[in-house]
């Protein structure tokens, strides 16, 4: 399984055909306490860069973009009742949605863990 990162602070794990998407620990720390998450519906088609989810902290609302193109197969049902999971475990139980990819070559433009760590260190 490999993990990729975007400059918009999303992570994406590819496990066979299925990718899991969430926001990074850096992103949740910048947002602060998360009070609401809206995940996409099953079957939603997204193109890379489309709005896919909404995350709201006490202070502000933010869009989460689709890191790659494909079809949403499941939103994380736990986030509706417990949005703070995104603060507690952003790169684990606080995942946002799972999707199938329409073009795996889009992953090539994303960062690996080391490149993302370097990107964040310069912010």
């Amino acid at each position: 399984m490999s993990r990729y990162f975007t400059e918009d602070h999303e992570w994406i794990d590819l496990d066979g055909e299925i990718a899991t998407v969430g926001i990074t620990d850096y992103a949740q720390s910048q947002l602060g306490d998360i009070v609401f998450v809206e995940v996409p519906e099953d079957g939603k088609q997204v193109a890379k860069g489309d709005d896919a989810a909404v995350v709201e902290s006490v202070k502000a609302a933010s869009d989460v973009y689709a890191p790659v193109s494909g079809t949403v197969i499941e939103g994380n049902p736990a986030l509706e009742g417990e949005p703070a999971l995104v603060n507690e475990d952003p790169e684990g139980d606080g995942w946002f949605f799972k999707m199938t990819l329409s073009d795996t070559s889009e992953l090539d433009s994303l960062m690996d863990e080391a490149a993302y760590a370097d990107f964040v260190s310069k912010l």
Binding site: D8, H9, E10, I23, A27, G32, D33, V35, F36, E38, V54, V55, E56, S57, V58, K59, A60, A61, S62, D63, V64, Y65, E80, P83
Partner: protein
């Protein structure tokens, strides 16, 4: 991931407050606010909010304008600019009022206190330069306006504020809500009033800027006290029905539209009707305004924030949300909105529109969280 509340472009150099280094050393996340760099949070807005409701929090509000007015005929001169009964305020008494434009619109909201030799006034940081210019233009030349910019302003708020502060500055426990007094601390004079912007019991403390860090240290050394950022200040004041100038109040709103009828409570001032916009304001007070500020609880969990629209049954825009967010104590999304009086009754269902999505809510009585002020004559 991108925030839809874009960072403002920095068009001017941000000024630093006396406690700037103090905040940074304690992990305060600094953001631009009212022309200064100020701490929005330390450990997190939710935890800080709850801490203030249960214990005591220290806020740095040194961005606010502290003014001292003095001179012959001051009371009558100031009454020409605000609707309060200035003359009726006794020494050490404190009052909330509004700086009004000629049309009755609100230029700023403020607190003033009578000192032996004049009036001490605290105005909003973002408005202070305009306020000073307005006062200078409209007050007679023989009135002096001293901008006390060599003073910091701290607020200690919460049910345990009195325990913590009375250990550091004995005697403050004798103050009641909306009164103040002079106290000595470590060889420095402090002005302390029992007032604040959270709905909790608490104090506001004016201190010479070069003593502010030592005082903040002495206060946070008390077990009850943690430093609190602007983020929690906003969620606390929203729950307490305390409007924020530039959001819930502006030059388009009047005291009656803003549901601040208590700011025109003086019978003498109403009969004299000689404050700016008196004719309009008194008419609105008698007959009701066209729109009024109300509190809303929003269904579900998604916050509805400033700028969201209030819609009528046909989907027409009839009002606007001026503050909103997820309320940590209420544990629901809450908001302040201006709505037509026909929608202002408690219990009225309202439709809201934000970023193309429809939300529903209900008009509720404010404050959302009961005030816990320590008033004169109340049982201890």
């Amino acid at each position: 991931m991108m925030s839809d509340t874009a960072e403002p472009e920095i068009v001017e150099e941000l000024a630093l407050l006396p406690l700037d280094a103090w905040h940074r050393a304690r992990g305060g996340r600094m953001v631009p606010f009212a022309g200064y760099e100020m701490p929005v949070q330390y450990e997190g807005i939710m935890a800080e909010h709850q801490w203030v409701r249960e214990s005591a929090g220290l806020f740095d509000v040194s961005h606010m304008g502290q003014l001292f007015l003095s001179g012959p005929g001051l009371d009558a001169a100031l009454e020409a600019l605000i609707p309060a009964d200035v003359a009726g305020v006794k020494v050490n008494g404190q009052k909330y009022s509004l700086l009004l434009a000629e049309n009755g619109g609100i230029l700023d909201d403020l607190m003033f206190t009578r000192w032996d030799d004049g009036l001490y006034m605290v105005v909003n940081g973002a408005c202070k330069w305009d306020d000073i210019a307005h006062l200078r233009e409209h007050l007679p030349d023989e009135i002096d306006i001293n901008h006390m910019d060599e003073h910091a302003l701290l607020a200690l708020q919460g049910p345990k504020a009195v325990d913590a502060l009375s250990r550091v500055v004995p005697g403050v426990e004798a103050l009641v809500f909306m009164t103040g007094g002079r106290f000595d601390w470590d060889g420095t004079g402090l002005w302390i009033s029992r007032s604040g912007y959270t709905g909790e019991d608490g104090f506001e403390i004016s201190v010479e800027a070069d003593k502010a860090a030592a005082l903040a240290d002495a206060l946070t050394a008390q077990d009850e006290v943690k430093p609190i950022g602007l983020g929690a200040r906003d969620s606390l004041r929203l729950e307490a029905d305390l409007p924020l100038y530039g959001h819930d109040l502006d030059t388009e709103t009047t005291p009656i539209m803003a549901a601040l009828n208590f700011a025109v409570a003086s019978k003498r001032r109403r009969e004299e009707a000689n404050f700016p916009g008196a004719e309009r304001i008194l008419l609105e007070r008698e007959q009701g305004p066209i729109q009024r500020r109300v509190g809303l609880i929003v269904d579900g969990r998604q916050p509805v924030r400033e700028g969201a629209l209030v819609l009528d049954g046909e989907g027409n825009e009839v009002g606007r949300v001026t503050s909103g967010g997820f309320a940590p104590t209420v544990q629901k999304p809450i908001a302040m909105a201006y709505v037509p009086v026909s929608l202002a009754e408690i219990g009225t269902r309202v439709t809201l529109s934000q970023r193309g999505k429809i939300h529903h809510g209900e008009v509720v009585a404010m404050p959302f969280v009961p005030h816990r002020y320590v008033r004169a004559g109340a049982a201890k």
